[in-house]
């Protein structure tokens, strides 16, 4: 870190960079589609509506799968699943990560050292591997275990970031002043620490959201995610790979949906970072 002065400041007006706009549009599109599937889908997602493995047509924009179900409908539902996994996993990661990170920052030297070392070890394990172990540990794969596993796996990263950010704030003179004037540690967290670290945390949550979407797709691809009939993008891709010789188009559309959401989230996070951290200009 070259910038010695922490760049924590109240949020300035939202600067609408093109990257931020594109990101927000992509994410917004997925949210709208995901919400829409709650009340309407082009076809019944479980009904056989056309020929098996039919190529894309006007009636079936993304073709049909091996049971003749409309792929576009399944991809739309996949958006809902991806978003709910992302929201759930990030909420879990935030709850555990911020709590542990704050505890470590406030704890005595010895406790902090142990926590930091444990976090480093957990982070050295790839998120996906950790999630795989947790899914395996719970009986049977389901959407819930996938969310839980990804959330727990991501929480170590959030915890480490929170710890570093909180320690930086705690080293400030105004914290000493607050302590001297009798503010308890909960008060310090609420009044000084959280308002100062949340802009950076939010940016990280947006990035974690994207990683969670990829992790969920990977778990489903490996058969460790939500079981059918949940139309996760990862499972759609896995099924498409099985029929790649007869119907190669099936692998395209779910992938595009997945990547557009992740890119949208990354751009969105970049845009937020520009706002949250004015000293860090994009090059």
């Amino acid at each position: 870190m070259s910038d010695a002065t922490p760049a924590f400041a109240p949020l300035p007006r939202l600067r609408l960079t093109p990257a931020f706009l594109i990101g927000a549009t992509l994410v917004g599109l997925h949210v709208v589609v995901g919400l829409l599937t709650l009340i309407w889908t082009p076809y019944d997602p479980t009904a056989m509506t056309g020929g098996r493995l039919a190529p894309p047509s006007l009636a079936h924009w993304a073709g049909t799968d091996r049971l003749g179900r409309d792929l576009f409908t399944e991809i739309m539902i996949g958006a809902r699943i991806a978003l709910s996994v992302g929201i759930g996993a990030v909420a879990i990661a935030a709850a555990i990560g911020v709590t542990v990170g704050l505890l470590a920052a406030f704890a005595s030297r010895a406790v902090d050292d142990v926590l930091a070392a444990t976090l480093d070890i957990l982070i050295a394990f790839p998120t996906l591997l950790l999630a795989m172990l947790i899914v395996a540990a719970s009986d049977g794969a389901s959407l819930g275990t996938a969310i839980l596993a990804i959330g727990i796996a991501a929480s170590s990263i959030v915890a480490r970031l929170t710890r570093i950010l909180a320690r930086r704030v705690l080293a400030m003179d105004y914290i000493t002043a607050a302590r001297v004037s009798g503010t308890g540690w909960l008060g310090i967290v609420r009044i000084h620490v959280l308002p100062n670290i949340w802009p950076t945390l939010i940016v990280n949550f947006a990035l974690q959201f994207g990683l969670a979407v990829i992790a969920e797709a990977s778990l489903s691809y490996l058969g460790l995610g939500a079981p059918p009939p949940n139309a996760s993008w990862g499972r759609l891709l896995q099924e498409a790979q099985a029929t790649v010789y007869t119907a190669p188009f099936g692998a395209i559309a779910p992938g595009i949906a997945l990547v557009s959401l992740v890119i949208g989230l990354n751009l969105f996070a970049d845009g937020l970072r520009d706002v949250a951290d004015p000293t860090r200009r994009r090059r």
Binding site: I121, L129, M132, A137, S218, Q241, V244, G255, V259, R283
Partner: protein
């Protein structure tokens, strides 16, 4: 290392279901189950199991698979002959792609192709490994029929190395592409740091050409942060091979881990994770050594960064 071993052990014991179940058939009577439990040691208290496990680790005895009965270390050794070359080749490929493109993206950042490289690498970071794998299969195996879509010769490397390499072409390309996408970003920002540095301006002022200054002064300075990233990337590729091996159904370390988890084969899972952790630590150590080799300032007694 000890902490890592303990974390692994605990995580695995949290898996519900007795590993002895893998040994007995459905409907076995209690006596048979008890015998099986004694055989795998799951009748001992958990602490005794842990002490036994540590003792075995110390003597590099990783136990035998609950399922097949083959010693785990032997199985890992066999599978490493696939996973290690796969990772190494993909790693080399990624460096060959990322170094020139990353430097180009930084030096020519005002040109259209400079930004194009940045945009593509941004895209690459958002694409899951397995989708790239599937797309490559669609393009090169289904459409062009240049490479096989999956599998590996059972005879291994030595019978026909070229055929083996041909089989591995798509997996190698998949990993190399994914790795290079994030690598390009690091190389680019390291190069940008070098370009903005005072010493480069001094070198230019002393009459060195742009390219010469960059090569003579830039590479060593820019390499240090990139090497530590390379170490991390190599380690995560080794562990991340799980997904790629599934895409191309390769009999490597990753598929051993997956089937181990599915069958609750603790010795296999523990063994794979233990050896992978060992490899990851070794890679980190090697990256550290290389950094010191490149940058004499890191060789001081404290090893402190300048």
């Amino acid at each position: 290392m000890l902490i890592a071993a303990a974390v692994l052990f605990l995580l695995l014991r949290l898996l519900p279901g007795d590993p002895a179940n893998a040994l007995v058939s459905v409907g076995a009577d209690p006596e048979q189950i008890e015998a099986a439990r004694r055989q795998v040691g799951s009748d001992l208290p958990i602490f005794a199991q842990f002490v036994r496990y540590l003792g075995q680790l110390a003597s590099f005895d990783l136990g035998a698979s609950f399922v097949s009965g083959v010693p785990v270390l032997e199985e890992i050794g066999r599978r490493l002959t696939l996973t290690l070359p796969l990772t190494a080749l993909a790693f080399t490929g990624a460096i060959l792609i990322a170094l020139p493109l990353g430097i180009l993206a930084a030096v020519k950042r005002d040109r259209w192709y400079g930004s194009l490289i940045s945009v593509i690498s941004q895209l690459g970071v958002a694409i899951p490994v397995f989708w790239i794998g599937i797309l490559l299969v669609t393009a090169f195996a289904v459409k062009l029929r240049l490479f096989p879509s999956s599998g590996f010769p059972t005879s291994g490397w030595w019978r026909d190395p070229l055929a083996a390499l041909h089989q591995l072409a798509l997996p190698i390309l998949t990993i190399a592409l994914v790795m290079s996408a994030s690598l390009i970003r690091y190389v680019r920002s390291a190069t940008l740091d070098v370009i903005g540095s005072d010493y480069l301006r001094t070198a230019r002022a002393l009459g060195a050409g742009y390219g010469e200054a960059l090569v003579r002064h830039g590479i060593r300075n820019g390499a240090v942060p990139v090497i530590s990233i390379l170490g991390i990337e190599l380690a995560s590729t080794l562990l991340g091979a799980v997904v790629v091996e599934r895409v191309f159904s390769l009999p490597g370390l990753g598929s051993m881990l997956l089937s181990g988890i599915e069958q609750r084969d603790y010795p296999s899972v523990q063994g794979v994770l233990f050896i992978s952790t060992l490899l990851v630590l070794l890679v980190g150590f090697a990256a550290d050594l290389v950094q010191r080799l490149v940058d004499p300032r890191l060789r001081g007694p404290s090893g402190a960064r300048p």
